[in-house]
Symmetry: C2
Subunit: 374 residues, 2 copies
């Protein structure tokens, strides 16, 4: 079978790299000369290639959702994926794709432009969720998977799933959306906008010309702290930390007196150098740009004819960044469009991050759905 694009493939330490050797044109304009897409797989693809589940990820995770024979390192969704687990690799062939733009295997603004030999940085075209969806379609074409058993998308990944369903109706028989949304709304836009402001207002940002030695550490640190505060919840922090104190450091007017401050500082420090500032900015902006209803009469119209059989949408009451009314909107629109659709809102206290933390609630919620789809 001939691909509609020129590509090569190699595998390294359990990660597949699909190298598309022709220009990639972005949804909102601009192009780059080539694109690499990183993905991992678990479980066997059956003979009629009908048992594949594709996971599209949130902003931060890479393709390593779970350990595999060649890479035993635990993945970011380790308790969820494997033989007999909620995403059961005995039944499903599971694929997880690293998002375009993230530079964790897949091409992004931190990668070198082969035409110039320099990193793209700000010369990278505006990234949209629609672009991420199109790279997913390219991987499926390469894998000769005409139709997925299911698309699974937590957070930003759910947006990518919806964009893919909209671009290629019928590409999946089932859809599982988790703590996700059909468009970005103003409260979350404002938080992400402020995070981006923190980074680009750091003098070390230098209009994207930062170096390893001269890195926008302060901006990245503060953006991550605000991220943590928007990913977790008030009750969780209250229950975990209360007013316990452990003076981390103290300077006049700004100290780390409280445990909650040290917790955020430690989490932020891990992030500063582990995420490319440019990639963070492009991915963050792609979420804000996303509105599935763009170009349609209304949101309901945008859900017409996605050609899926069933869907489940899971949300969390304490998630104020991707709040429950946004999961309800997806479930309602799908139901009105004739899809057998279920909404489940969980009582997890960990806010938006619950799907990677509160496995006691999330494993049954996911398994109940995926165990019954064929």
């Amino acid at each position: 079978m001939k691909l509609s694009f020129k590509a090569s493939h190699h595998k390294e330490d359990g990660t597949h790299f699909l190298q598309v050797e022709e220009p990639f044109h972005f949804w909102s304009g601009g192009s780059i000369p080539a694109v690499t897409l990183a993905y991992e797989t678990w479980g066997e693809l059956n003979e009629d290639r009908s048992n594949a589940i594709l996971i599209l990820t949130g902003l931060s995770p890479n393709a390593h959702a779970a350990s595999n024979g060649e890479n035993p390192e635990p993945g970011w969704w380790e308790p969820m994926i494997g033989p007999g687990k909620a995403i059961d690799t005995n039944r499903h062939h599971v694929i997880c794709l690293n998002s375009l733009g993230s530079c964790q295997g897949s091409t992004g603004p931190g990668c070198v432009n082969p035409e110039t030999g320099e990193p793209y940085r700000l010369s990278f075209p505006d990234l949209t969720i629609q672009d991420i969806a199109r790279t997913a379609a390219m991987v499926l074409e390469y894998l000769q998977i005409d139709q997925l058993r299911a698309l699974v998308g937590p957070s930003m990944g759910g947006m990518s799933c919806l964009a893919l369903l909209r671009q290629d109706p019928g590409i999946a028989r089932h859809f599982l959306g988790i703590s996700t949304a059909a468009r970005a709304e103003p409260f979350a836009i404002a938080i992400r906008s402020l995070q981006r402001e923190m980074i680009v207002r750091d003098p070390h940002w230098q209009d994207g010309a930062y170096t390893e030695e001269d890195w926008p550490e302060t901006g990245m640190r503060m953006a991550r702290k605000l991220g943590m505060l928007s990913y977790r919840s008030e009750p969780e922090l209250r229950q975990r930390f209360g007013r316990s104190q452990e003076v981390h450091f103290s300077e006049r007017l700004f100290g780390m007196h409280f445990s909650v401050e040290s917790y955020l500082e430690n989490a932020a420090r891990k992030f500063i150098r582990n995420f490319e500032p440019c990639c963070y900015l492009f991915l963050s902006q792609s979420i804000d740009f996303f509105d599935l209803s763009e170009g349609y009469a209304d949101m309901q119209d945008a859900f017409a004819d996605l050609k899926i059989d069933t869907a489940k949408v899971i949300g969390v009451h304490t998630d104020y960044l991707w709040p429950p009314h946004q999961q309800k909107e997806i479930a309602d629109c799908l139901a009105k469009a004739g899809v057998e659709s279920e909404l489940q809102l969980l009582d997890s206290i960990q806010g938006h991050d619950s799907f990677m933390v509160d496995y006691d609630r999330f494993i049954p919620a996911v398994a109940e759905y995926l165990d019954h789809i064929v």
Copy 2:
């Protein structure tokens, strides 16, 4: 009657200034050589000096809570205070005190140290809510008010009221707390800590040696935006702005595309030069330090014997910075301590700021209580 401290008084444009001409010793150590306290009053003090209501304010407001004969400029709580209004100046003698530390009439770290001729800035002692409470007691002593009819405190002001009641049991017969708390909790501490970090990490902060020409604008701008996001709520921003767009400015990766971004930018610009960075930092930290139960067996113990007759505590369901369980804690502790105590939670969608915005709900809630106290 002789005051327990040396003081003088003058009045200017409707504002009273009580100048305490002796050292003020701070609750957690340190002192300043003198202190000025700014307050305004409305309505007549009755003959037996028993009809006074003292309002202690949140972090930002000054003493000008309402217009008066000498200053017709609308105050920050204008719809609430006046003849026949919820805080009825026909019945009550109303006093509003500018908080110590805020430099809006009352002394703070931005004011000049008379001993050096230079602003205090970082040489100002650590400010606590207990210090603000003590300045309130000094004003009451000067006014020869032995017992208030009521203490009214929204937000941080409610903390100051509780600290005053704890320092001087019996100082008030009634207490109205609004969107307030008996201690700072970790989610709100984390937000305020991040705001302080934004300011002190601005290169123009210069360890407090900023000047009019070289001001930490970026830090103040971002701190205010995070403030706005914590004072308002997700549903309010959604209803007001949706995804409406009005490109304010656009640069690569950081633009103001959405109306919600312009709204925050405009609000922040007003704040940058109108609030002294040092004052903001000291006041913000004083909230985090506050825990009424400090030095007591537990929170219930801290509410013992405040010698008030009745109390009402009002909160808002969408307030995630000063969440409803904190108002409930105050009402419950007061009730268990034998005070006739009422909790009312309102359905306002404007979050913490509702008490200065949603007058349709707040005016009746306040009036119902204050109309019946004597």
